[in-house]
Amino acid sequence: MMLKPNWFLILLILLLALLPLSESRFYIFLGTDILIMGLFAVSLNLLLGYTGLVSFGQAAYFGIGAYTCALLMKKAAVVFPVAFVAAAFMGMIGALIIGFFCIRLTKIYFSMLTLAFSQIVWAIVFKWNSLTGGDTGLIGINFPKYLDSSTRFYYFTLAVVVISFYFLRKVVDSPFGRILATIRENPERTEFIGINVKRFQLIAFMVSGFFAGISGALFGIFNHSLFPDLLYWPMSAEVLIMSILGGMYSFFGPVVGAAVILYLRMLVTSYTQYWPLIMGTILALLLFFFPGGIVGFLKSQRPFAGGKR
């Protein structure tokens, strides 16, 4: 890693840490939201950008994590730390099960199966009224005891997200991560050099599901309520767009994408109801003119060669 980006990162973290001083509850909300969705998007990107698996069903692990944490806390009176960890593990297990079936397929069939499974999870949550509250949702999820203000929760989220990013970064930069990149480039050839592609893909799924579960758990508590909508496929589409908008070939790209989308959505929806139109247009422009996303575009502006991936 080069020296300058380190500074940039540190400064960014400092800035984020100072955010609550702005006295604006709304910006604390927005900041928490961006951090959570950023983590969610980066977890997807582990599959999308790094392993080349176009998963349309990421919302499933997000939702599993969210509902696990909330249900354990609300119905089983489990303390937050345990519920939180359980959520991450359930996300991972969900990804393991779903991934096991999906990796046997390729390309469009893979994507469709991830979509199908994600819809199954949605349908179960939607219909299992007695457990999940179904359509009406799970309402009244309280902040855990020591995090009972938006500021404290923001700091907690910041900490969790920064630590998660640290781990994910390590994963991506490790030999494991490099093999994933090789798999993305050419799965058959990777198989030929003796690597069990399926096993690596499955592990990638599990890691991705783990962190998606964490972001889901945070989301549930942050919003104090959960609705099955967050498992419906447009949510998976949205996080996919965030990753691509930010740049799926970079680590922090998806976070940038999440920040841009959430900020824009907040601005646009106060003036007009036609946010989908704006988002669709941005996506289209992106696809035509900026295939590398925002970060990709920024990177291409520098005159020096050499890839920081």
């Binding site: 300058k4 980006p5 940039f8 400064l11 960014l12 800035l15 955010l19 702005s22 604006s24 509850r25 709304f26 910006y27 909300f29 179904g134 359509d135 009406t136 949702g137 309402i139 009244g140 919003n223 104090h224 309520s225 609705f227 909508d229 967050l230 900020y263 907040m266 929806t269 106060s270 109801q273 920024l298 990177k299 502006q301 520098r302 005159p303 020096f304």
Partner: protein, 398 residues
């Protein structure tokens, strides 16, 4: 450009972006009221007029000098039909736009979701439409939530009373499979079993809210050969069902008592000739009834404000909610939330349809509805409710 310069620029923009709101200086004068409403989709049939009613109430109040010398400002947002969106929109309204009060939500699920937001944000919330009794149940009730609408008990039980007047024995129920449909059907069944135990529920249909294709439900219901059916389909769902059921001769074979305000002129205008005749249903307001001077004046103003020939009936839901809020602030002589809450409890106001009181014990207004049978009349190009009467809520609420 050097990459580092680019990155610093991005950082700079981000910093400016965050500082931006500090620049906007808030005019503290208007009283800000957030109004999330179902404005797009099948519920817009009811949500749009509700919004209009609220707007008209605000306009009238401001023309008279506002409340405590300050104008009310309504911040309207489309929360569509999901509680998810309602939550998001409400939190933005509170945290970003600094609204002091919330009025809105249409579906039962939205009512519950907004109630939760009101609780955590300690903001006063008046539900103009959401009917589920769950909102005012002892375990869910908190100081900040109030309901100006009728509730599922009132509605379900009124329907049961009408149903029981007739000799029908085998009953089928069709309702949207979500909080409202489930609660009102439950209330109906419990009450009718209580007042007429020989009635038998031969089957239940549970299409989802916003179901595009009712045909399997229509045929399934007809197969059970019921004498009558209790409906809780509303808005767009009722319109679709009626249209799709017509060629099956559904309404001739099965007598229908319908909750869900199918008697609203909005529904009749949307369906025209496809509106089934001879069904018993309800509405929140009717431009042709009651004949009191206050009501006629209100209808006149509404007609002028909306420039519509037939004043919408759902406007009254928004109208009365704003009335409750404004009167409570006046009585409290302050916009401090807890003071307004205390003032609202037990408050009686004069609405265009008569006096309404917000009960202190469960934050529920004693809101009744108009029930009648659909019939074709020479005066209007669409069927209306005739005969029609106002069923008060007092004996039907717990």
């Amino acid at each position: 450009m050097r990459r580092s310069v680019m990155l610093w620029m991005v950082l700079g923009f981000a910093a400016i972006g965050f500082l931006f709101p500090q620049v906007a200086d808030a005019q503290k004068k208007p009283i800000l009221v957030g109004f999330p409403m179902f404005l797009t989709g099948g519920g817009a049939l009811f949500g749009q007029p509700a919004k209009v009613g609220a707007e008209m109430a605000v306009k009238e109040i401001n023309e008279k000098g506002g409340v405590l010398g300050r104008p009310i400002e309504l911040l309207i947002r489309d929360c569509k039909g999901t509680p998810d969106e309602a939550t998001r929109v409400a939190r933005e309204l509170i945290a970003k736009e600094n609204v002091q009060f919330l009025v809105g939500g249409l579906t039962a699920a939205q009512g519950l979701a907004l109630s939760e937001v009101a609780k955590t944000e300690k903001t006063l919330y008046i539900a103009p439409i959401s009917k589920t009794t769950a909102m005012t149940d002892p375990d869910k009730l908190h100081p900040y939530v109030f309901r100006a609408a009728a509730n599922t008990n009132t509605e379900g039980r009124s329907a049961a009373v009408f149903m029981a007047k007739n000799p029908w024995k085998k009953i089928y129920t069709i309702g949207p499979d979500y909080e409202y449909g489930q609660m009102v059907t439950k209330a109906f069944i419990e009450w009718i079993k209580k007042i007429k135990p020989e009635v038998e529920v031969v089957g239940q249909g549970w299409p989802k809210l916003g179901e595009p294709d009712f045909t399997p439900f229509i045929t399934a219901a007809l197969a059970k050969k019921p004498d009558a059916a209790f409906f809780s389909l509303w808005g767009g769902d009722f319109v679709n069902f009626a249209k799709q059921a017509r060629p099956y001769g559904f309404f001739e074979k099965v007598k229908v008592v319908s909750a869900g305000e199918a008697g609203s002129p909005e529904t009749a205008i949307a369906l025209k000739d496809d509106l089934p005749l001879g069904i018993t249903t309800n509405a929140y307001d009717l431009f042709y009834y009651p004949d009191t001077p206050e009501h006629k004046a209100y209808v006149g103003r509404l007609k002028a404000y909306t420039k519509q020939e037939y004043a919408p009936s759902w406007a009254i839901t928004g109208y009365i909610s704003v009335q409750f809020l404004a009167e409570a602030i006046k009585k409290a002589k302050s916009t401090d939330t807890m003071k307004v809450v205390k003032a609202l409890e037990g408050l009686t106001i004069n609405t265009p349809i008569g006096k309404q009181t917000m009960r202190a014990k469960d934050h529920q207004a004693n809101r009744g509805q108009f029930w009648g049978t659909t019939a074709k009349v020479p005066e209007y190009p669409f069927p209306i409710l005739r005969p029609v009467e106002y069923i008060p809520a007092d004996n039907l609420m717990d």
